[in-house]
């Protein structure tokens, strides 16, 4: 091996090593970028977080359901429940009436803490509401104009339960049978 070829060989090795290092760096950056993109949304740093206990509740026409949930305060200051306001949109105004319950009763929510499961709001469904699923969006705003994530929730209106004729017949037959058996036992005794 000549001096020139030896030099060229070492140059190739050096360049190869540098390219390998650069590739590792690029791959690391891609990995970090990918992690940020694909990370679950729950790690997002909303100053207030609204976590409903259930995203959907069932009722019948004319019924009222109460949504409960927890609130996390990361605003940097303590809050009371009376500092928290619920805002709603996207609901069917002919079917759904929503009332804020949060704040009654009042409670304290220090910074970096989460509340117990509390009543958030009630949803009353119109008496003439047809069966179906009624969705709406809700978020919390605080007195310092911090906003929570927006949550889509729903109320499922089921048809009013009416006993089927066969079920009623079975029930009546059973009751009559019980009555007859009871009478026979009484006569024997």
């Amino acid at each position: 091996m000549t001096c020139t070829s030896s030099f060229l060989f070492s140059l190739r090795v050096s360049v190869g090593l540098q390219l390998a290092k650069r590739s590792v760096k690029i791959l690391t950056l891609f990995a970090i970028f990918g992690f940020v993109l694909l990370a679950p949304k729950s790690i997002s740093a909303d100053p207030i977080t609204l976590a409903p206990s259930s995203a959907s509740l069932n009722t019948t026409a004319g019924g009222t359901v109460i949504f409960t949930g927890q609130i996390t305060n990361q605003t940097g200051v303590p809050l009371s429940a009376l500092d928290l306001f619920l805002n709603f949109s996207g609901f069917d105004p002919a079917v759904v009436t929503i009332e804020q319950l949060l704040g009654d009763p009042d409670f304290l929510l220090p910074n970096n803490t989460f509340s117990q499961v509390v009543n958030l709001y009630s949803v009353t469904v119109a008496a003439n509401a047809p069966p179906g699923t009624y969705t709406f969006d809700v978020f919390i705003q605080d007195v310092n104009d911090n906003f929570s994530n927006s949550v889509t929730v729903s109320v499922v209106v089921s048809p009013n339960a009416v006993p089927e004729p066969t079920t009623l017949l079975l029930l009546i037959t059973g009751l009559v049978g019980t009555r007859i058996a009871h009478s026979k036992l009484r006569r024997r005794s």
């Binding site: 805002n87 709603f88 949109s89 609901f91 978020f139 705003q141 007195v143 906003f147």
Partner: protein, 249 residues
């Protein structure tokens, strides 16, 4: 991951509050912080705890278009009877809007603290207007709520209207000017003192009437103005809201 459809979202900012003359006036800005414009925004319910609402006396109250990052303001008034200074009460505003070819509902809430009573920076005429609504007919009665002995006599009633109409009622001693589309202006026709057709303090006058092919009502602005009989010059005014033929109903 998925993309959410653009939609309006409503919020509020800290309202202006004035506790004066036994009434709380709330100046509440309503914001669209969503990603789509809200058209035909109408307020259908305003409440403050269990307080009696004095204004607007009738709803709905049209707010028009609320674009993204746009603001509209409402100024409801409530009786303070039964409310405690320093107490927190839930102000709730509900309504409807149109977006994505769909009419939807919104509800916004805010606890407010009742401030101590203070003097209003602007002195308004003490007056109010009642309306009797029959299908297609709106009849107004003006009340001069100034204390007996006041020099403020009502001499003008201007009404904003949202749809075409005709004036069908003018009280005796009054005359009307209108474009039959957007306003009606009734004025007492007295030219010289003692102005016998002005509405005196403690008095009232009915018979201001309009008709429209629109059946539904919505809250629109009005102005009642007084003539100061002592100084023989224009007096105080009282702006507020009252039901009139609706633009969108």
């Amino acid at each position: 991951m998925f993309l959410l459809a653009p939609a309006p979202r409503f919020s509020t900012v800290a309202p202006g509050l004035l506790n004066s003359d036994g009434q709380l006036t709330v100046s509440l800005p309503i914001l669209n912080i969503g990603t789509a414009d809200a058209a035909n925004v109408r307020v259908t319910k305003i409440s403050l705890g269990s307080a009696v609402r004095r204004s607007p006396a009738g709803l709905p109250l049209p707010l028009g278009i609320l674009p993204v990052n746009g603001t509209a303001s409402i100024s409801p008034r409530f009786n303070t009877t039964g409310l405690l200074v320093g107490g927190k009460y839930l102000l709730s505003v509900q309504g409807t809007y149109e977006a994505n070819n769909l009419t939807s509902g919104f509800a916004i809430n805010r606890y407010i603290v009742l401030p101590a009573p203070s003097q209003s920076p602007v002195v308004y005429l003490k007056a109010h207007v009642d309306v009797a609504v029959q299908p297609g007919i709106w009849t107004y009665t003006i009340f001069n709520d100034e204390p007996v002995g006041s020099t403020q006599f009502i001499a003008l009633f201007s009404l904003e209207v949202g749809s075409p109409f005709t004036v069908t009622g003018v009280p005796v001693g009054w005359e009307v000017e209108t474009d039959n589309v957007s306003y009606a202006l009734w004025v007492a026709s007295d030219q010289q003192s003692p102005y016998p057709h002005h509405i005196p303090p403690g008095g009232s006058l009915g018979g201001f009437q309009i008709q429209s092919s629109k059946i539904g009502s919505e809250s629109t602005g009005y102005l009642v103005a007084a003539w100061n009989h002592q100084l023989d010059q224009a007096g105080l005014v009282s702006p507020d809201l009252v039901l009139s033929p609706g633009k969108s109903v």
